[in-house]
């Protein structure tokens, strides 16, 4: 049986180094994580924060150095060993069994049983006890697969707590959550530490880190830059620590919103799955931000515009031409491009070369009689890649070898090759490191300056506020507010996004 740590629950990392195939991932890292604190690990992608988390939780073992729990040196050979010491990870990719109920998932592998049969009543009793102890609840008999992401995460937390976890490592817990789910999660995290548990938080949302953490450790290139109380840090000091330089301005200067330029995109009373009665005009050179909670219909609106889902009523005009019932193939030809929400699932062919990913939507231009012209492809693709400043070894390497930010830029390169008139970017900086974000913003602003109509969808409020000339807030599939100029504030967007949702089921 796992045991509870008695008094001193500190986890100490002492001079730990770790290499992967010659490349140092961690170099002489020392951190002390004190019992009952929320300890955040921040750094750019590849800085070593996830590796450190994995060493503490026994996924990797250090090449040099040691881990101390309660001042006692431990040698974890597997996550199981770490679990026996009360250290559990809630991974980025959740591991629930979809067709088992919540309680079955919570006690998976540790079911109360007799003669090989699960004692259901005993399990229910223990589940209730656990839920009462923890302070948040999930319906015990609901299928885990039907839970929203945030609830699946709670399920994993319950599972960890049912194993008497004293230290919980959370790797990007809020990355896939909507705003109000994030608030709920923060509540759960605070309640965990209130009951004496330690939370190690790996996150690239700096505002979240500053909001929650007691101690922040900054990593860069596998080294600890500093580890100290969170109240001595600011967003800027964290970024400086992570990058080794200051970021400069987070957003490019705003160009004046054009008022005389032609209307490129006109949407009239559009109804589609998840979208009700949406009307919108976007002028050449304009960036329109689409804000709202996850599930408010933003991505569905983008899908409908692009012809990826069926429009039930209303019209879509591109530069005056009706494109209402087009499929994606036709939309691209009429000049609408979409950067989809999830680049891995909807955007890229991960195993194929970078060049093929860029040219995919434009092969008809790059080929003659159905045969792709290698020179024409190479020339056009390399220009497109240069335009968006993709860093790579060779454009023939698989796109999976690129960092998240560069993968996203590959999608931008694809759209520039399409020469669209309207560009819809759905969560263009999700999972992208701080350094690449600014470059993606630059590309968006350049595209608008070149005369495109741009629609940016983002869950990061600062992003919408920093980029857009105009913000439209969606709620429950409808456009509920349009904000311009001085009215574009965080407060106003949040009010519009949240209004009534508290009472709605």
């Amino acid at each position: 049986m796992p045991r509870r740590n008695a008094t001193d629950g500190d986890v100490q990392v002492v001079n730990v180094s770790k290499r992967f195939g010659g490349a140092p991932a961690l170099a002489e890292v020392s951190v002390t994580i004190r019992r009952g604190e929320i300890h955040a690990l921040v750094g750019e992608n590849g800085a070593g924060k996830s590796t450190l988390g994995k060493i503490i939780s026994g996924v990797h073992s250090p090449d040099l150095g040691e881990i101390l729990v309660n001042g006692e040196s431990v040698n974890f050979r597997s996550p199981r060993d770490a679990m026996d010491r009360g250290i559990v990870t809630i991974a980025q990719e959740l591991a629930v069994v979809p067709y088992l109920s919540v309680e079955e998932n919570v006690f998976l592998g540790a079911e109360p049983r007799r003669w090989g049969f699960v004692r259901r009543r005993e399990m229910r009793r223990r589940y209730k006890e656990l839920v009462n102890r923890v302070g948040f609840r999930l319906p015990a008999s609901q299928m885990a697969g039907s839970l929203v992401t945030a609830d699946q995460q709670k399920l994993e937390i319950l599972r960890a707590l049912s194993r008497d976890a004293s230290t919980i490592i959370m790797d990007e817990p809020s990355a896939a959550l909507s705003m109000h789910e994030v608030y709920a999660l923060h509540g759960v995290i605070r309640s965990l530490t209130a009951s004496g548990r330690t939370v190690i938080l790996i996150s690239h949302f700096l505002s979240e880190v500053l909001d929650l953490a007691d101690t922040i450790t900054i990593l860069r290139d596998g080294r600890v830059i500093r580890s100290g109380p969170a109240n001595q840090e600011t967003e800027n000091s964290l970024i400086e620590g992570m990058l080794g330089r200051s970021l400069g301005q987070a957003f490019p200067d705003k160009q004046l919103a054009p008022s005389e330029s032609p209307v490129l995109l006109e949407v009239n009373e559009l109804c589609a799955p998840g979208v009700h009665d949406a009307s919108l005009r976007v002028r050449a050179g304009e960036i329109v931000g689409l804000a709202g909670l996850v599930g408010s219909g933003r991505s569905e609106f983008a899908s409908a515009l692009f012809g990826a889902s069926k429009v039930t009523s209303g019209t879509i005009l591109i530069a005056g031409k009706d494109v209402t019932h087009h499929d994606p193939h036709q939309s691209l030809r009429e000049g609408i491009s979409l950067i989809p929400e999830s680049r891995k699932e909807q955007g890229l062919l991960m195993g194929r070369p970078i060049s093929e990913n860029v040219s995919l939507a434009n092969l008809n231009v790059l080929s003659r009689l159905g045969i792709v012209s290698p020179t024409r492809e190479r020339n056009r693709v390399s220009i497109a890649l240069e335009n968006v400043r993709v860093k790579m070894a060779s454009m023939r390497t698989p796109v999976s070898s690129l960092s998240g930010g560069n993968q996203q830029k590959v999608l931008f390169a694809r759209t520039t090759l399409c020469e669209p008139r309207v560009l819809i970017a759905d969560e263009p900086t999700r999972g992208v490191d701080v350094g690449s974000k600014r470059m993606i913003y630059d590309v968006l602003v350049e595209q608008a300056a070149a005369g495109l109509g741009v629609v940016v969808i983002s869950s990061e409020l600062e992003e919408v506020l920093g980029l857009a000339h105009r913000i439209i807030v969606m709620r429950a599939g409808r456009f509920v507010a349009e904000l311009t100029g001085e009215a574009m504030t965080q407060q106003a967007v949040l009010e519009a996004a949240f209004a009534e949702t508290a009472t709605a089921p």
Binding site: A23, R333, L349, E356, S367, M392, T397
Partner: protein
Amino acid sequence: MTEASNGVLNPTELDTANFSWRRFGGLWRTTGILIPFLVLFITLAIANGQFLTRQNLVVNILYLQAPILIIAAAGTLVLIAGGLDLSVAATFVLAEDVAAGVALHSNPIFAVILALLCGAVVGLVNGFVVAYLRINALIATLAMSFVVAGIAEVATNNTFYSLFDRPSLGKFATQDFLGAQSAIWIALVVVVILGLTLWRSTFGRYVFAAGGNAEAARLAGVRVSRVRITTFVLSGTAAALAGVISLAQTLTTTPYSNESSLAFTVLAGIVVGGTSIVGGDGSVTRTVIGTLFIALIQNGFDLLQFNTFYIPLVTGVILIVAVSLDVWLRQRRR
């Protein structure tokens, strides 16, 4: 070498931990079965004097493998596009029956064309069921193989044709040209055309995209359903062509029960060659090598007078090794 010198290597952008694995994976994917194939080839050449004779290489191997190579080349496209065609054996038998039935009473060229059309129609139905009714390709083509075999049986009233009285169709496969029979030349042309299509054409790119990530392909403007249907039409037509060649080789039709394992023989060749079972990766060249590798094993058993009962066992083991390697490399690449 050339890869590294062409671009500036930026170590931070490359996942160094997996880099050597990716290299090995890449090497396996390009040469893959080629090295075992060459080893087997050389071994057989040394072990048996008959192996390197024209009779053995051209007649025993290429001539007899021609129908299988044709089906496998088209099947490669189906597999890469994310599909699977189990109905090829039934289509093969249907095409034999149609060609034989028509050739008995009229022009053999007309018989060939009609048989190929039947194959194309079977492929079209397969593609429609898979792409628009969204039925899993394995189930859809399994069901279709019963339907097609049933049609063949009903249409022929379960009798077998022989064309010994009207052997002119035989020339379709046996006509000698530059030292090889027409069956081999037809297979070569099919393999080269399909190989080039996959390698260089826009359609080939769409095939890779449809199987690699269908949703991403759709959002990039690829008409995934059309692409998949086309691969099934190619596969059906190829199976019919193989049936016609087989008929021309033997001048008799075969019962479905004798050919029912054909789809699996073909699939084994494709997969041993290294084309991915889950789509998105593969090549016709590899399929040719994989198919010939299996043929070499059979040939080796014959020449060295081993007990041929062991052939299926050996083939099965090789298949498992090839698929395990594919799965393993896929996980490594993550």
